[in-house]
């Protein structure tokens, strides 16, 4: 449709005009604000342009000729703790997948509500499903570790217990693996399951849409998605299994680190090369054939849909965000150590993104309080306008793929919340990073 071309073109053009304006005319303002503004606009422009122009859904590509088994067995592993309200919907959505070569392993991580009984009831009528009851709560990572030895599939699909999978989700993820033999992991497209609950959930839904389709979309172009989302992602057995123990027992600053489940899991795949033995290559000195480590790709499939419950109260939302910030910090010292080996543009965006997160709060402080207090009364409103405008661009992008929804108008709120509330959580997260409490309830 023509609208699908015009709106992205307008969004990209608006960003290009602002970027050009900043570069050509606007050098006399506060240099910190200017530099930050130019870089943010550049990254935003690159994200929209790259994701629109170059992203294609890897699940829509035809199977690669080298792939012989187009129906690999998938083991879907879901750790769960006290999720009696949603677990039936979650598990049913997996059991009703269009992809049938599938086993389902649910790990009950020491639930104290009706979850164990519900799971046993479901397992009784579904032979493809098995339930592992852990005697006590071990945490999400160790629950997954307990399930892996039982899994017989060549692909692991990990889902969150508060998520509901689209009917074709697993099939799409498998299609992506079939088309891309170098893909070590594929992330699905996540949205809010309870988007309609209140303003906060609407805001988060619009944010998820952009985070996945645009940010992960651009990373996927380079085969280097930094976080295959925990709500639903699939991993090749050989890309992840060797690291399960190390991952599940991750320590940071001398203590066990319980967060960063998905981000860290993706990190192992990004770090490790795929080891293929090429007979055609010259033999090594000891007569053996040379192993060529080839990088795994991590992709994102827009058509593999999953809906996950998002926090509906500020308290829960801020706790989740604090947890994510802790994961971000932990992952800086993991993925940050080797991501530079990925394609330069992806690496550039990755490290610049880190810089934004680190200096974002300081820039907001400078623009809003410091400059205003020093008599510059225009910087603050213009900074706010910029943040809101970029939020609106993301909103338009949401509207593009969700034409019947009006939620897009709430998207700028997420930009403002992000700037003035979430960015500061980084400091809180840094000071409490050794506190392992999950704080979900």
């Amino acid at each position: 449709m023509i609208r699908n071309r015009i709106v992205p073109a307008l969004i990209v053009a608006a960003l290009a005009v602002i970027l050009a304006g900043k570069l050509l005319f606007h050098v006399a303002v506060d240099p910190f604000l200017w530099t930050y503004g130019v870089l943010v606009t550049l990254v935003t422009f690159t994200t929209f342009f790259g994701a629109y122009r170059y992203y294609t859904d890897p699940a829509k590509d035809p199977p690669h000729p080298s792939v012989t088994d187009l129906r690999p067995k998938v083991s879907c592993i879901i750790p769960v703790k006290n999720e009696e309200g949603l677990i039936t919907r979650c598990v049913t959505s997996v059991l009703e997948q269009t992809y049938e070569h599938l086993e389902v392993i649910i790990v009950d991580d020491g639930s104290t509500d009706r979850t164990p009984a519900i799971l046993d009831g479901l397992a009784a009528s579904h032979p493809r499903m098995r339930v592992v009851h852990l005697p006590k709560n071990l945490g999400k990572k160790r629950a997954i570790e307990a399930a892996v030895p039982l899994a017989t599939g060549s692909i692991f699909a990990f889902a969150d217990s508060d998520s509901v999978l689209g009917k074709h989700a697993i099939e799409r993820l498998v299609d992506a693996f079939n088309a891309h033999p170098n893909a070590g992991a594929v992330s699905a497209h996540g949205r809010a399951l309870n988007a309609g609950t209140n303003l906060l959930t609407k805001v988060q839904d619009t944010w998820y849409e952009g985070q996945f389709r645009l940010s992960k979309g651009l990373e996927s172009v380079y085969g280097a998605v930094t976080c295959a989302s925990g709500c639903l992602s699939a991993f090749r057995r050989e890309a992840f299994e060797p690291f399960v123990h190390e991952w599940a027992h991750d320590t940071f600053l001398g203590k066990e680190f319980k967060f960063a489940t998905d981000r860290q899991m993706t990190g192992y795949v990004l770090r490790e090369g795929r080891r293929d033995t090429h007979e055609s290559m010259p033999a090594t000195a000891d007569g053996g054939s040379r192993e060529t480590p080839k990088k795994w790709e991590v992709l994102y499939s827009h058509s593999a849909k999953v809906w996950t419950e998002v926090p509906s109260t500020w308290r829960k939302f801020l706790r989740q965000q604090a947890r994510w910030k802790k994961s971000f910090i932990r992952n800086l010292f993991f993925t940050g150590r080797f991501y530079w080996r990925r394609p330069p543009l992806a690496a550039f965006a990755f490290y610049l993104g880190i810089l934004f997160v680190l200096v974002g709060p300081l820039i907001a402080f400078r623009a809003i309080y410091f400059l205003t207090a020093n008599g510059d009364l225009l910087s603050a409103p213009l900074y706010l306008s910029g943040v809101t405008f970029v939020g609106l661009l993301y909103g338009l992008d949401y509207k593009l793929r969700n034409p019947d929804s009006t939620y897009w108008i709430y998207r700028p709120l997420m930009s403002l919340i992000s700037t003035f509330v979430l960015s500061w959580l980084l400091i809180y997260a840094a000071f409490t990073i050794r506190n392992p409490s999950w704080l979900t309830r």
């Binding site: 609208r3 005009v17 304006g21 606007h26 405008f389 609106l392």
Partner: protein
Amino acid sequence: MKLKLIEVLVLGFMVVMFGVLLWKFFHWPFA
């Protein structure tokens, strides 16, 4: 696709905001 009144208003707001952002490039009192 039909736009609701609120959506039209937000779009209008967006255009105005874009205008403001462009305006600043040419009229900056602190330069």
